[in-house]
């Protein structure tokens, strides 16, 4: 064993300092906090250990955490899209594969990052030792550096064999290029394309508290926790807790959870989760018709995505708000570009954003009536009640809207004289083949028709006054605000969040043996007033979150595996 990296001296000292302060504060918080570990939660069997491919955002977050924001920002990182499974890319990551085509850009970014970290500008900051000479190999210094950075990248101490090989690669590369730091960069780039880094691989060990049972080892537990709460690899403190065995005790685990959950880094995890759940990746390739929606520029597209995330973070984390109120809140954030869409003058703070609260009489409130949702579920040149309805059902209420039948000629129902979407879509309800599914979607979308495909407010469409009255699952309302309230009160809203969040946390679909556990989570979520930080805390402190069964890996090899 090469030991856990002691990373506070030169490498990442700024991070270590901030974490030390956060850690001290969290200890105090923890002393008075409630630890739910093992208290009355339904027993689960969990699922077999996993091997999840890192997401692009996790990759970049790790690079930022270890090497700093400037290194991460200068990197060109392209992951192949991962199949969305059960509503989440995070679940698809458990079966995703690296192909020759997807490895090429990863190898490119690995070299780019490694070379930037070890270039003349950065090396003194990151490498805690100086080589005997810059043009010869220095295995002692290489070992010191690589054991530290390797421990953070692999999220566990390197095995002696791994470290020996990395030092050898570095040494050989010096010989070729005559540059000690090029040698180090070669080893770092190798780690960045290795499966040890790119896959979050979970390892099991015998559970001393349960005969013939297995449990995640400390480092696997640390990774599960860290990717859940920080969307990143474990930091030094968490790795130390894994090494010492503290993570296997409720108190030790609770201490780490509290430290992490009160850290500002929870924000990156919440952003990553909602980015996945709400399919915000679609903004990467979204564009509106510049003739029809000239104000909806590409800058506004990225602002619309950012606006949604700012509202979520502000409401759920900064204000510790009730999740349901996200759909009725009148608080938002505006950029100058969005001001054009909202027809509001916006000065913007230093970062170009300003907080804003819609007045009571405003037709806008909640996440559904922001430019993000409204434009995401529209065509490039017009609104789409069907898309909006389907988007709400599938991403926010976790309901499945069936595909349309393949052989229906919708055009035969088209009424050329129809001026509003309500009139155009009314034909769907007259045909039994269409009516079933369109009833699920269109009625929701009709309520949002006062907002065009760019999210701009309007009273009329083609000169005819828009009638937004509609209903959701039997609850009737007069307009979009009524829809927001109906969504807020819909029981599927909170159960969907719990399902998605737990699936996101464990990176897989919920198992049958976890149904009671998830119901328990929903109950706790409700009793706590639907505060997401509490929900994160309950999950992170639970036994269920870490419960793992052994898959079909070789038990003998597993038992003798020595990291």
């Amino acid at each position: 064993m090469s030991g856990i990296p002691k990373w506070s001296a030169a490498i990442g000292s700024w991070r270590a300092l901030s974490l030390s302060i956060a850690g001290a504060i969290s200890l105090i918080v923890f002393a008075v906090s409630f630890v739910s570990f093992g208290r009355g939660e339904p027993v689960t069997r969990g699922a077999p250990e996993q091997m999840r491919l890192l997401s692009q955002s996790q990759y970049l977050q790790i690079i930022e955490d270890i090497f700093g924001e400037d290194i991460a920002r200068s990197a060109t990182v392209r992951f192949a899209p991962v199949k969305r499974t059960d509503g989440l890319v995070a679940v698809g990551a458990a079966t995703a594969v690296v192909t020759p085509g997807s490895l090429e850009p990863l190898e490119y970014s690995a070299r780019q990052i490694a070379n930037n970290v070890l270039n003349e500008e950065h090396r003194a900051f990151f490498v805690p030792c100086a080589p005997a000479a810059v043009n010869v190999r220095d295995d002692v210094c290489a070992r010191e550096y690589l054991s530290k950075v390797g421990g953070l990248l692999y999220r566990r101490p390197l095995t002696p064999a791994e470290l020996k090989l990395l030092v050898e690669i570095a040494g050989r590369s010096v010989g070729t290029a005559g540059d000690f730091y090029f040698g180090l960069a070669s080893s770092v780039s190798g780690m960045l394309v290795s499966p040890q880094f790119l896959y979050i691989q979970e390892n099991l060990e015998h559970d001393p508290d349960r005969a013939d049972s297995w449990r995640l080892d400390g480092y696997s537990k640390a990774s599960r926790l860290s990717f859940f709460l920080w969307n990143s690899a474990p930091d030094n403190m968490l790795l130390h807790a894994a090494e010492s065995g503290d993570l296997h005790s409720p108190a030790g685990l609770g201490q780490q959870v509290e430290r992490m959950i009160t850290s500002h880094r929870v924000e990156s995890s919440l952003r990553a989760f909602f980015d996945d759940m709400l399919i915000l990746e679609s903004f990467d390739t979204m564009a509106k018709d510049p003739v029809i929606y000239p104000a909806f520029t590409l800058k506004v597209v990225s602002d619309a995505r950012e606006q949604s995330l700012r509202i979520i973070v502000d409401h759920l984390l900064s204000r510790d708000g009730d999740y349901r109120d996200l759909f009725v809140t009148r608080r938002t954030f505006l950029s100058r570009g969005l001001g054009m869409i909202y027809q509001l003058p916006v000065q913007g703070d230093s970062d170009g954003w300003t907080a804003y609260e819609f007045p009571e009489a405003s037709p806008r409130a909640g996440l559904l009536m922001q430019a993000g949702f409204l434009s995401q579920y529209s065509h490039p040149g017009r609104s789409s009640p069907t898309k909006r309805g389907r988007g709400l059902r599938e991403t926010i209420l976790c309901q499945v809207v069936p595909d349309p039948p393949g052989n229906v000629d919708i055009a035969t129902f088209e009424d050329a004289s129809a001026k509003t979407a309500r009139d155009r879509l009314s034909v769907h309800s007259t045909d039994p083949t269409c009516a079933g599914c369109h009833r699920l979607t269109d009625r929701i979308g009709i309520a949002l028709e006062n907002f065009d495909g760019a999210g701009q407010f309007r009273l009329t469409e083609n000169g005819e006054r828009i009638d937004p009255h509609s209903e959701l699952d039997g609850i009737e309302f007069a307009d979009a605000n009524g829809l927001g309230q109906a969504v807020r009160d819909n029981p599927a809203l909170t159960s969907c969040l719990v399902d998605r969040l737990y699936s996101y946390a464990v990176g897989r679909r919920i198992e049958r043996n976890e149904v009671k556990w998830v119901a328990y989570l929903e109950d706790r979520f409700a009793k706590g007033g639907y505060r997401i930080r509490d929900l994160l805390r309950i999950i992170a402190n639970s036994e269920a979150f870490y419960r793992t069964t052994r898959g079909d890996s070789d038990p003998q090899l597993l038992a003798t595996t020595n990291l």
């Binding site: 594969v97 997807s102 499966p195 590409l298 595909d403």
Partner: protein, 438 residues
């Protein structure tokens, strides 16, 4: 050796050299221009076509080019048009804008959206002809969306397409490019180091394999396969590349094209990528590629027109006089204009004793026949290029309702893929389309 599946078991049948390349007259091999490699690529567009103005009225040679194919008039002699072929679902649902392309690409109809039962034929063909170049295959999405890819190993391993022409330029002609016509060659020591690093990664990974379950072990194996493949391609870069007399490195990267799926932007992106692809091919950077003009269920837009192509297919009434949807036809026409640009670019690029297109086989198809009703009967397919003399061109084939997989099977056979049949259930076939074999 030919390999196939018979009653679930693998069989291997010995075949004489190049037997799979011979037609009934035995002339194909003799006609092969062996000095230049055969390249293969796909070209995809979404939302099908309008049969009234797409399907030629005559079959065989000397077929006419209806309005929707008129843009291809300059390359007609290099084209084959395949109509009236089907994708059969064997009781599985017709998954709108999905079943069609999945069936044609991998020979099996999916039973659910997201399912990709077999690897796509470009993967198989790359296994056969893709060695010896810097890239196993190049993939492009003119829509700019990385999810628009119809090349796959399986549902969890979908090829990552390039989405920006500038990135294509950097990838192909960036610092790692080696000019095949340079009078001097010095192996780059940094390439040696890259290769050595990858060998180290493989060495380090051996221990991991022991700790995994079956499925994850298979995924890890794919990771190592990817590393080994990259390693072997780096090995190629340590050798002097063979000369490529027509290879001319583009002087500068193409201009940046903003995000968007407006048809003008898509065409701009498509054409810029095409220009780079042509040079990548003659510079021996790859032998297999996939070009996506528009996604299945095409979301391409027309400036100032509120509906996407897909929305137009469903919401636009048939013109009572013409009998088809005018706006939808416009979108298909724009796709065919880009396809024409694509083929003309290949045709005007000299290579050997002819053009680059003479040494290529391009397979184009869509996801539906008539998108309005998601028809899979008559799903349109075209090929272009003579594949080094192995294919006849300038022919319109009426499939008479036969499975469209016959074309995919024929193309694989022509390119030397050792199979005796291809596809599953009703899409399974061992019948080539003999009319196009030279």
């Amino acid at each position: 050796m030919l390999r196939g599946m018979l009653s679930g078991g693998a069989i291997a049948v010995a075949l004489p050299l190049f037997d799979c390349l011979l037609n009934t007259n035995g002339t194909a091999y003799a006609a092969t221009n062996k000095s230049l490699p055969t390249r293969f690529g796909t070209w995809f567009w979404g939302c099908g076509m309008d049969p009234q103005i797409f399907v030629p009225t005559t079959v065989g040679a000397e077929f006419d080019l209806p309005e929707q194919l008129a843009a291809l008039k300059n390359v007609k002699q290099h084209l084959n048009v395949f109509t009236n072929f089907r994708v059969l679902t064997d009781g599985s649902p017709n998954l709108c804008h999905y079943t069609g392309w999945v069936g044609l690409r991998c020979g099996a109809a999916p039973s659910a959206r997201g399912e990709l039962p077999e690897q796509s034929l470009d993967y198989t063909i790359a296994d056969t002809i893709g060695a010896g170049t810097r890239f196993r295959q190049l993939n492009f999405a003119a829509t700019g969306n990385p999810r628009h890819s119809y090349s796959f190993k399986n549902a969890d391993a979908i090829s990552l397409p390039e989405t920006s022409a500038i990135d294509v330029y950097r990838k192909i002609f960036g610092p790692d490019f080696q000019d095949p016509n340079s009078p001097t060659f010095t192996p780059d020591p940094r390439t040696m180091v890259r290769k050595s690093v990858l060998s180290g990664v493989l060495e380090q990974g051996k221990a991991l394999n022991k700790e995994l379950g079956t499925a994850d072990r298979a995924r890890l194996d794919q990771h190592f396969t990817a590393i080994r493949e990259l390693e072997s391609r780096l090995e190629l870069q340590l050798q002097k590349p063979p000369p490529a007399p027509q290879c001319v490195i583009p002087a500068s990267p193409p201009p940046e094209i903003p995000v968007g799926i407006d048809s003008m932007l898509v065409a701009e992106r498509h054409n810029a990528m095409t220009d780079l692809l042509v040079m990548a091919l003659v510079c021996n950077q790859t032998r297999v590629f996939n070009m996506v003009y528009s996604d299945s269920a095409s979301n391409v837009t027309r400036r100032g027109f509120a509906k996407t192509h897909h929305a137009a297919t469903h919401e636009e009434p048939l013109d009572p006089k013409l009998g088809y949807q005018i706006e939808n036809a416009w979108f298909v026409g724009e796709a065919m204009k880009c396809f024409a640009y694509f083929l003309e670019s290949l045709a005007k690029q000299p290579e050997g004793d002819g053009s680059l297109l003479d040494h290529m086989l391009v397979y184009a198809h869509s996801d539906q026949e008539v998108a309005k009703v998601h028809s899979l009967n008559g799903i349109p397919m075209l090929t272009a290029g003579g594949a080094n003399g192995l294919l006849k061109t300038g022919i319109h084939i009426d499939g008479a309702g036969e499975p469209g997989t016959r074309l995919g099977y024929t193309l694989q056979r022509v390119l030397g893929v050792p199979i005796t049949d291809w596809g599953y259930k009703s899409l399974r076939t061992s019948l080539e389309i003999g009319e196009i074999l030279a």
